[in-house]
């Protein structure tokens, strides 16, 4: 009969304790970090400087500084109109995407999981097809019938184009939030407590996927707000969004390149502030819901 050894093996005192490998220690780590930070920060800094530059020639810094471009650009009716259009378009896109994505995604969790697979596959389309191809596809589709042809170059079709383009950015975080919250289990608990579908959605499901909803909404908003190709192809210059104005301003010899920098910085600041507010409100959970983050804790 052999005795079973259950105590842990003794460690020889003459051998050094194994050291955990340290990744990226010392100067290579700082060099890599500095390079990465410079890559991200320098273009932003340059844009900010340019928005305040009087003239910027072949020097590291502008010749002088002024607030003139900011004052002129933000008071220019064409810029303000395009900004308002872009804001409304992005907001409408968020609303339509939420209406298109939420019901089937919720249903896929509580009743029919196959819907989710279909949605995940559809979400690959905007990445498999160039935006321009997607835009011409939508435009041609609208032109097929007599009834829909009137919307071929309309802002309504542009909203649909943005929905097709940006819905994956809403789908992924909301999908992650639903998986993480255990939506099916919560729904069944609400049902057995006597709640109908509306009460279940509003009082149980929505508060528990709030992080995903906020993350998805801001990503969708950002994608729609900054989108150029689809807006250009579908509406041309008849519905000038901010990116369309920015490109036009850069191409126009009498354009306002400093104004373009002003609006780029303005947009960046707005999106940055909104992102920080959402991250604070959700206590950093937004990061966990981004695509590719492990969500093994599901029901």
């Amino acid at each position: 009969m052999t005795a079973v050894q259950t105590s842990p093996p003794a460690v020889r005192p003459d051998l050094p304790a194994p050291r955990a490998p340290r990744v990226g220690s010392g100067w290579p780590r700082w060099a890599l970090f500095s390079g990465w930070a410079a890559f991200l920060v320098l273009p932003v800094m340059a844009t900010i400087l340019y928005s305040f530059a009087t003239v910027w020639r072949n020097e590291a810094f502008p010749d002088g500084y002024t607030t003139r471009w900011w004052l002129e650009t933000l008071s220019e009716p064409r810029v303000v109109s395009s900004l308002v259009r872009s804001l409304l378009l992005a907001l409408l896109t968020v609303v339509v995407v939420a209406l298109v994505v939420l019901p089937p995604l919720y249903w896929s969790y509580v009743r029919n999981p196959r819907i989710r697979t279909l949605m995940q596959l559809s979400a690959l389309l905007p990445f498999a097809l160039p935006f321009v191809v997607l835009a011409y596809g939508i435009k041609n589709l609208a032109g097929i019938t007599e009834i829909t042809r009137q919307w071929e170059s309309s802002s309504l079709l542009l909203v649909l184009g943005h929905v097709a383009l940006s819905f994956p950015f809403f789908l992924w975080p909301v999908d992650g939030a639903m998986a993480s919250a255990g939506v099916r289990r919560l729904s069944e608990a609400a049902e057995t407590s006597g709640a109908g579908p509306v009460a279940t959605l509003l009082r149980v499901i929505a508060p528990n996927i709030r992080t995903g909803l906020l993350t998805g909404s801001i990503l969708t908003f950002a994608v729609s707000f900054g989108e150029y190709s689809i807006a250009r192809v579908i509406t041309g210059s008849s519905f000038e969004t901010l990116p369309v104005w920015q490109v036009a301003a850069l191409q126009d010899t009498r354009g306002n390149p400093n104004g373009v920098a002003v609006m780029a910085v303005f947009t960046f600041v707005v999106m940055f502030v909104v992102s920080v507010l959402i991250a604070r409100a959700t206590q950093g959970e937004t990061i966990r819901l981004l695509p590719g983050v492990d969500l093994s804790k599901t029901d």
Partner: protein
């Protein structure tokens, strides 16, 4: 007000797999019934069918005098406790318990009174403002029980409510659930795969296998006089011997026992008996050599080798001091402690 549950010829299939096969069952008012069986036997499917979370292919379910077969879950007079608690993370303990009452639009005063009494009942009066993630597993499941009981359901459904808990807490909460069910007096259906849990908590146990109820009886009845080979094997510890049937239609094992063979058996039969029914005797009986003695607290389990067979014998630990590996012992089994089944 507790109601009876009537399940009449219920059938449910998932594709080709039959989850419930013509199941009929009655649960009288105020009874705690345990649905016991291995994974995939259909017990949870049956419970979810009572709750309305699963559709049925055939059959009817009545709660009291009401046919609930086609009634949506939210309109059924039930409360349900889930294996993984399923508390609402965005609501406090009090918020979770008051949720079913708010849905039913009860007055604030009534809700406050009811939540207070339920918190007292589960012993968590001081934790009403905590969120579920601030509670232990046992506390969360207590809250889930209180939430299920809040609307005073006619039937309480419990889907393996102790399976996710540690052993010590599991026993404590099992007794707690039994105490609460007794005090509230509601009819309850409790799903478990743990036979000791089913025996401890239920007034009656329904043993299920492959979508059918094999037998339904009081725990002592199932334990002492199982009607099916499966129940005899599944419930409690047991010795199982395959033995030949003699010409005089008896099943004998040396001097240990001799019992009549079942009528339907031919050639061989299975003899099943509990370790605690085996008696060590001074003379006569079957002789074997002790392989090992395992201390289990009040009893010690003695493994005795007899030819190709290994027999388990439970001996009071106080009387097991002289027993050790290699020692020869004689044992016998009373005939009335042996269940004999035809081999499949």
């Amino acid at each position: 007000m507790p109601s009876s549950v009537h399940i009449e010829s219920v059938t449910k299939a998932y594709g080709d797999a039959l989850a419930l096969d013509d199941v009929s069952l009655e649960v009288p008012p105020g009874e705690m019934l345990a649905l016991l069986g291995p994974s995939g036997c259909g017990k949870t499917t049956l419970l979810r069918a009572i709750a309305g979370l699963n559709d049925l292919d055939a059959g009817r379910i009545r709660i009291g005098d009401t046919d609930v077969t086609n009634l949506p879950t939210r309109q059924r007079p039930i409360g349900m406790v889930f294996q993984h608690y399923a508390l609402f993370p965005n609501l406090t303990v009090s918020g979770n318990i008051s949720f079913p009452l708010e849905i039913r639009r009860q007055s604030k005063a009534e809700i406050g009174r009811r939540v207070g009494s339920l918190l007292d009942l589960i012993g968590l009066s001081a934790l009403g403002d905590r969120y579920p993630n601030q509670l232990s597993g046992g506390q969360q499941q207590r809250v889930a029980v209180a939430r299920a009981l809040a609307p005073e359901p006619e039937v309480l459904l419990l889907d393996e409510p102790l399976a996710a808990l540690d052993a010590a807490i599991r026993n404590e909460l099992r007794d707690e659930i039994r105490r609460i069910q007794h005090r509230v007096g509601t009819t309850a259906v409790f799903v478990t795969h743990d036979q000791s849990e089913a025996m401890a908590i239920a007034d009656r146990v329904a043993v299920m296998k492959q979508g059918r109820i094999l037998e339904c009886a009081a725990p002592a009845e199932i334990y002492d006089r199982p009607q099916s080979q499966f129940a005899a094997m599944f419930v409690g510890s047991r010795n199982v011997l395959e033995l030949p049937i003699t010409d005089d239609r008896m099943v004998r094992w040396g001097e240990a026992f001799s019992v009549p063979a079942p009528e339907e058996a031919n050639g061989k039969a299975l003899a099943v008996f509990r370790p605690e029914d085996v008696r060590l005797v001074e003379r006569g009986g079957m002789i074997g050599a002790i392989d090992v003695v395992v201390f289990l607290g009040p009893v010690s389990r003695v493994y005795v080798s007899v030819g190709d067979h290994m027999v388990h014998i439970d001996v009071p630990s106080r009387e097991a001091s002289g027993l050790g590996p290699g020692r020869q012992v004689s044992f016998a089994v009373p005939a009335d402690a042996i269940r004999v089944f035809a081999t499949a």
